[in-house]
């Protein structure tokens, strides 16, 4: 299965869309600083906000693609998530599993590599965005509501691991 991507540009508003969903270009500085902001405001629960905002904003893109293209099997639906992740410039992800849980492994990661470029190694995982993305991918694959899956980063590039690994289990 190859993800079909249609990019459009509105000549009146000058806004971009990918498969009908508004998108915008930003850079690893913005993502790294947003991730750092979440860490800095951890006492307010900001990392959770970042994860949940990701899950809630990515899910509509996955759901509409799955519906419009009649993607039926959970495996193919996870593949939709994997390919969207790459198309957005967020890296390469191997994602496997079932309704009882699974794993996502990042061989390349915009969040991790951007953080390493900007600040170097860190003492804890920082992939809040990807945790939210993977939660959305699993929930879309198995027709579950938001917050159905708990995603935990068990290995992290910013901590020196060769790949970031995210463990998925039902919430």
């Amino acid at each position: 299965m190859k993800l079909e991507l249609k990019h459009t540009f509105d000549e009146k508003t000058f806004r971009h869309a990918l498969n009908g969903h508004g998108v915008v270009l930003h850079c690893h500085h913005y993502m790294s600083l947003t991730t750092k902001l979440a860490e800095d405001f951890a006492d307010l629960g900001a990392p959770r906000v970042l994860r949940e905002a990701t899950e809630d904003s990515i899910r509509p893109m996955l759901d509409s693609y799955i519906k419009e293209h009649g993607v039926a099997s959970p495996e193919e639906r996870l593949e939709v998530g994997r390919q969207y992740f790459a198309a957005m410039g967020m890296g390469t992800m191997e994602i496997t599993g079932g309704a009882s849980g699974g794993t996502a492994t990042l061989k390349h990661s915009h969040v991790d590599e951007g953080w390493l470029q900007k600040w170097g190694p860190h003492d804890k995982p920082i992939n809040h965005f990807t945790c939210g993305f993977v939660a959305a991918a699993f929930a879309a694959a198995f027709d579950k509501p938001a917050r159905s899956f708990q995603v935990t980063e068990s290995a992290s590039m910013v901590m020196g691991a060769p790949a970031s690994v995210l463990a998925v289990k039902p919430a």
């Binding site: 508004g22 930003h26 690893h28 500085h29 198309a87 410039g89 915009h110």
Partner: protein, 193 residues
């Protein structure tokens, strides 16, 4: 001739944004991402919502700073890129002022805001007007174009402060009007500190 924003935008949107085999989009000396506007707006809205009143100013300034640092580094990558050199530089006849106009044309082409410079006093003050920007779609209260504020300040520094990377914290930016609060456009005033 000066920099014609719409002409620059039309040229730059032809440049295909496509991830490489590693799922990354290197360009302009940074890694680019292409995420839903709903993501950025939801993050800002919910972060502001969880912040107690006594820390709202701190959170707002942190959100602006995310875009400010991004705008400074990426902005430098943009104005020194081959794309900028080929599309914008042939139109530059007024030095730094035109480079700045070109940077805001790229700002528009990337989908940040349909914006332009309406007033500029060399090295001192600049007024940006945006008739459409995605942050206006976000929920919350008060002015909340954090990204436009941060990037406007950064671009002014790239044009008029000490040469990159030594020009940060020279200018400040205040949002004076916002579509999100019912004004017909967003307005951003950049002044020297």
């Amino acid at each position: 001739m000066t920099v014609l924003r719409d002409q620059v935008v039309k040229s730059l949107v032809q440049v295909e944004v496509k991830a490489n085999e590693d799922g990354l989009i290197p360009g302009f000396n940074v890694l680019v991402n292409q995420l839903p506007v709903a993501f950025w707006n939801t993050v800002a809205e919910r972060l502001m919502a969880i912040t107690p009143p006594e820390r709202k100013a701190e959170m707002e300034s942190s959100l602006v700073n995310c875009a400010y640092e991004c705008g400074y580094h990426t902005g430098y990558g943009i104005i020194t890129s081959p794309e900028f050199q080929s599309v914008v530089m042939p139109m530059v006849t007024e030095g730094a002022k035109d480079v700045l106009r070109g940077a805001f044309a790229v700002f528009t082409a990337w989908g940040w805001a349909k914006s332009g410079i309406v007033q500029i006093r060399d090295g001192e003050r600049m007024v940006i007007r945006a008739v459409d920007y995605y942050e206006a779609d976000g929920g919350g209260s008060g002015h909340r174009a954090y990204m436009v504020q941060g990037v406007s300040k950064a671009f002014m520094e790239l044009a008029y402060a000490a040469p990159y990377p030594n020009g940060m914290n020279t200018f400040t930016c205040e949002q004076t009007q916002g579509i999100e609060v019912g004004d017909p456009h967003g307005e951003f005033v950049v002044t020297k500190k």
